[in-house]
Symmetry: D2
Subunit: 359 residues, 4 copies
């Protein structure tokens, strides 16, 4: 009930505080016989790690993953896959000033309200460092899905008011990994980077949007009632730190459309049923129909900023807080692999669930 697990069949449980010994994850339910490329897990962790470019936080964390169990001679055994990333750059002294003060829009106050105790050295479980566990396990989910040729690719489509307005279908998504903001449109990427630099110099932070595209998902995944495929994507995305909104397909734009414009006509090509448009974003009635799945996730500006702020102490007295430290001025470049990981976890789970849907 404590909510550190995700998934039903391909199920992960994550553990570790930001300033404890390490961050880890146990995957229970990965099928036996999957050939694992550990390098790909590390690659995604590197895409997530701090200090990777001039627009992310300058903390340096190596985040090297150790596989403790579940893999033998390069293949999954069907037993739990435990992975551990040690914490190194603790510097808990940085946090001494916040031991007695609630940082605005952080989880300090709510954590104490919930548990009556708090690891004041850092964010504890509310730290984005927990997402290491998601990225590592998501990287294995991706490899599982790749056996079916399913691919998942996310990119930054907006930073502040700088938007990439080109539809994903007209972009070469591979380009996203070639610049440090991870936007596949180079011109827009440059503007985003400039905006983030400006925000950073101001000691402030800014929000952004990540778009995620899934290709080659077979028809039939997802459940018709509560575990609709897009409902599970929504939960997965909204469980990532700093997210504020989720849209599938046309999202809020669908509100102003008429049904006659939004409905996707069916057509058959080579004996395969397809839709001539894809407003449904590959999901109808919560179940995949074989077309591309695409959705957008909004991130707020992160709460950690260098400016002075009004707050209260744990004794409930007014005070001001000024955190001198390293922080991400904009979280979305590093959140791209997290969005992909969560999408992969949802899909791997539903792909396995579908094995039990019919006789």
């Amino acid at each position: 009930m404590a909510g550190n697990s995700f998934g039903q069949i391909f199920k992960i449980t994550t553990f570790g505080e930001s300033h404890g010994l390490g961050i880890g994850v146990v995957i229970d339910g990965c099928p036996a016989g999957l050939t694992l490329d550990v390098g790909k897990i590390q690659l995604d962790l590197n895409r997530r790690k701090p200090g990777q470019s001039s627009i992310t936080t300058q903390r340096t964390e190596e985040d090297t993953v150790d596989i403790i169990s579940g893999v033998f001679e390069g293949k999954t055994l069907g037993s739990p896959i435990a992975m551990l990333v040690n914490n190194k750059d603790h510097r808990s002294s940085d946090y001494d000033t916040v031991k007695n003060t609630y940082r605005p829009s952080h989880a300090d106050f709510t954590t104490e309200a919930k548990y009556g105790i708090r690891d004041y050295r850092g964010g504890g479980r509310s730290s984005a460092r927990e997402t290491i566990a998601r990225v590592a396990s998501g990287a294995i989910a991706k490899q599982l899905l790749a056996t079916e040729n399913i691919s998942i690719q996310a990119y930054v489509s907006q930073v502040g008011d700088v938007k990439c307005t080109i539809p994903y279908t007209l972009l070469n998504l591979e380009v996203a990994e070639k610049n440090m903001v991870r936007c596949p449109d180079e011109a827009t990427a440059a503007k985003m980077i400039a905006l983030i630099e400006e925000v950073r110099q101001d000691g402030d932070s800014i929000g952004g949007v990540i778009t995620c595209v899934i290709k080659n998902c077979p028809a039939g995944l997802g459940e018709p009632v509560f575990d609709k495929l897009h409902a599970d994507f929504a939960k997965a995305m909204m469980s990532i730190n700093a997210t504020r909104a989720f849209e599938i397909g046309d999202g809020f734009d669908a509100v102003t459309m008429r049904g006659s414009a939004h409905n996707d006509a069916f057509a058959a090509h080579d004996g395969k049923v397809m839709t001539t448009t894809n407003h449904s974003a590959g999901i109808q009635g919560g179940i995949s129909n074989g077309m591309d799945i695409y959705f957008r996730v909004a991130f707020k500006p992160v709460a950690t900023i260098s400016k002075q702020q009004q707050t209260v102490t744990i004794e409930k007295e007014a005070t001001t807080l000024e955190v001198i430290g390293r922080h991400d001025p904009c979280v979305v470049p590093r959140a791209v692999p997290i969005v992909e990981a969560m999408a992969a976890l949802v899909l791997a789970d539903h792909w396995l669930r579908q094995r039990c849907a019919k006789l």
Copy 2:
């Protein structure tokens, strides 16, 4: 794994197809000793039912609920509460034309892809009739939350491009139930109704937005990692038929804000910690902080329209489809109690989960 259950401790399982004998729900985990007002359950079912006004579908369904178990002398026993609503207005003959044809943007095709079989008399489990079970169980969750004085109120804030731009804090939300579109601003309500009438006469459908406001939620509800309170709201809302987007707090608007503007300063009033603004929408780090919770849910135009559409048969041959029948031109007026019910189910569950958070 088949996804017909929702919740962890206050857990519902729904059953029933649109054209079978009935729709029902079992609540497992409602605490013993709750005094139940059955009239309030029926009241919410009446707010959901078809035929309640000129802007909803004109099908007439009484949707009278029977409580089969779990209640004795007006109180809950702690045992499963089963409720059943019989189906009456079957008219499955209406659906004979779609037996061999996939309705565009319905779940006909994906259901067959998933199960290899389909109840062609109607939408089966994908029918919005399944939401009867959500509303009935949500009405009990509301009564449980009312013992803590927690209230949940939803209203229609947009239909097509007609928006209610007044913030919820300046509206009298009680007014929403006084007009048939359920918008608390009467002037906007009139425009919404006019738009829906126009769409209906055109045989088309239109989308809308529902805003939901939760007051008096105690601090400490929600879990810090996957089961963040807003992540569970997102899943709950996106599991409702026809939803396309979910926003908490400023949602997509937060993207363009700076951290210094978005962060909520803490202050203490009468020994209680509060925030001076509420961009966090009552949730920080996934855990409630005691302030109002508010979110918005976008609904697409429903797929059932009276216009002729292109599609394919189950034999994968091109055809056209023209459904002569009764449908909702805009789903949001009837979806208000569904949004409230799902919000109540999430909150009742987390309220119980919190009982185990600390020694």
Copy 3:
């Protein structure tokens, strides 16, 4: 958490009190496309129902099952299968005497200790009437397993001190259903019936043992750690009212054996691995090996007797209790289909789980 569900993928949730409107069950996770024989469900309910012979309780309950959902044109849809059996022979007046008194070795006292409230008209959820739901859903599980040729057969192997000492391998198990005590050895059956008659005339009750045999279970079912196949059988059996012990294979007799005598040598026949003995009872390391599975379940004498007993009132004052009513002098003849049903539910679930074990 309230424990009214059983299974992970083939999952049942039961509801209904003994003296409410009815007893029901929802199966969530039965694969689509299974052709259902409703007559077989009713047949197992008839094997369980009271009043079926002179050695069971003489209450008459028809226990006719209605299928509310999940089945269309004789086949499962993949959606939840809800079944309901109405309660008819209430006679709650019989129970007025126990409203204020705790019946010895019943759940009256513990129910109040747990919930602070009790449906004093009968046993509520602790009544054996709840097993109707298990038998009905187990009958569907049996039909699912029959598609793989897996068979489950239970029989009475002991009543009081009357034992059937012939090993199951030398018995014709079909004979069990030909006598009212359900023992496949007719000579022993006659002695058992005589003993039960004697106990009944004495207004007392007596215990018994049921042996269950599963044939044609494929190798590979069961999980290696907590969800060992025999651990799940143990839980399933011990969740049946009045059970006191569970043995797999040699059970307690294995304690005095040496490993050299208990180990089952492997041999290969026609390219198939088998064991030359079967002390393992078809399960090694919690996983089926393809040999017969067999286990024994002990039932205590039921608590309802006609003799006067010492007890206390709900006001905690000493009193005596004499229940004038109809009860089963020995529960095992009617428990045979319940044991089979629970075994089928365990096996159907693990059979589906195995679909996700390997790539």
Copy 4:
């Protein structure tokens, strides 16, 4: 679904193969604010570890536990508690002979049947080394229960045909830890030790029985239907390696009793309801009644013996196998803390579940 988790609210997930890097566990759901004594965890691990006396296996494993997360300044945080014990005495060369051969009554064959792959260096997840994770997490569950004064004590009551016939109520259970076989009756203990020595010198193994006694359990724990308290104990115990039977209360002896003798009369003492006898073993209708809980668990002779045995190769050819190595001639002395741990895990979970049973 892969069955490496146990519990609903106090939930553990274990990981690690016998010959991998280590064995670990994540506890999700331990309440915040519990003061942890790490020494007590290590103490229970020492009671379980090999090489602790002349009658256990002579393998030496230190089994030192590291707490990775979830504990801060000596108290639980409410976040997942991860613990890891590194594997040291691998000696996988010992197992080279069994790479291509199925050891009789081990899980080698069934593991391959299930997963299509096997870690042939040892038992993998079927190794009793996995129980390290149970003992470590159970030691924390014990500390949680101790805050309510609930105590759990197990002891060896039978080895082969040497039985301790004195009822637990007449024994000083503390004595059990003073001899190496863990039987609280010294005279019987001496006979048990002599028998185990004899069996060991013969290169064979022998079974045993462990009795477990729980005192001060409050009334009201356990659920009335599937999750009866004794059903969950049964599953917990039968999930331990080498178990064959479970008895609560009089167990199989209850079969020959009359209801009038087995029923426990109620009496009131100082305003508290008690029973004058305790055939119910502290559980009525699956729910604790406040009296002592006691049960017995039967263990078969372990499969690893030094004698030559008939078996087949993975190529399905007949062969003989003679394992030269160190093994436990009788598993029960080391299984005592495992039985206690599993009992504690069941009880801690139900103790938390009870918090949600009533308003």
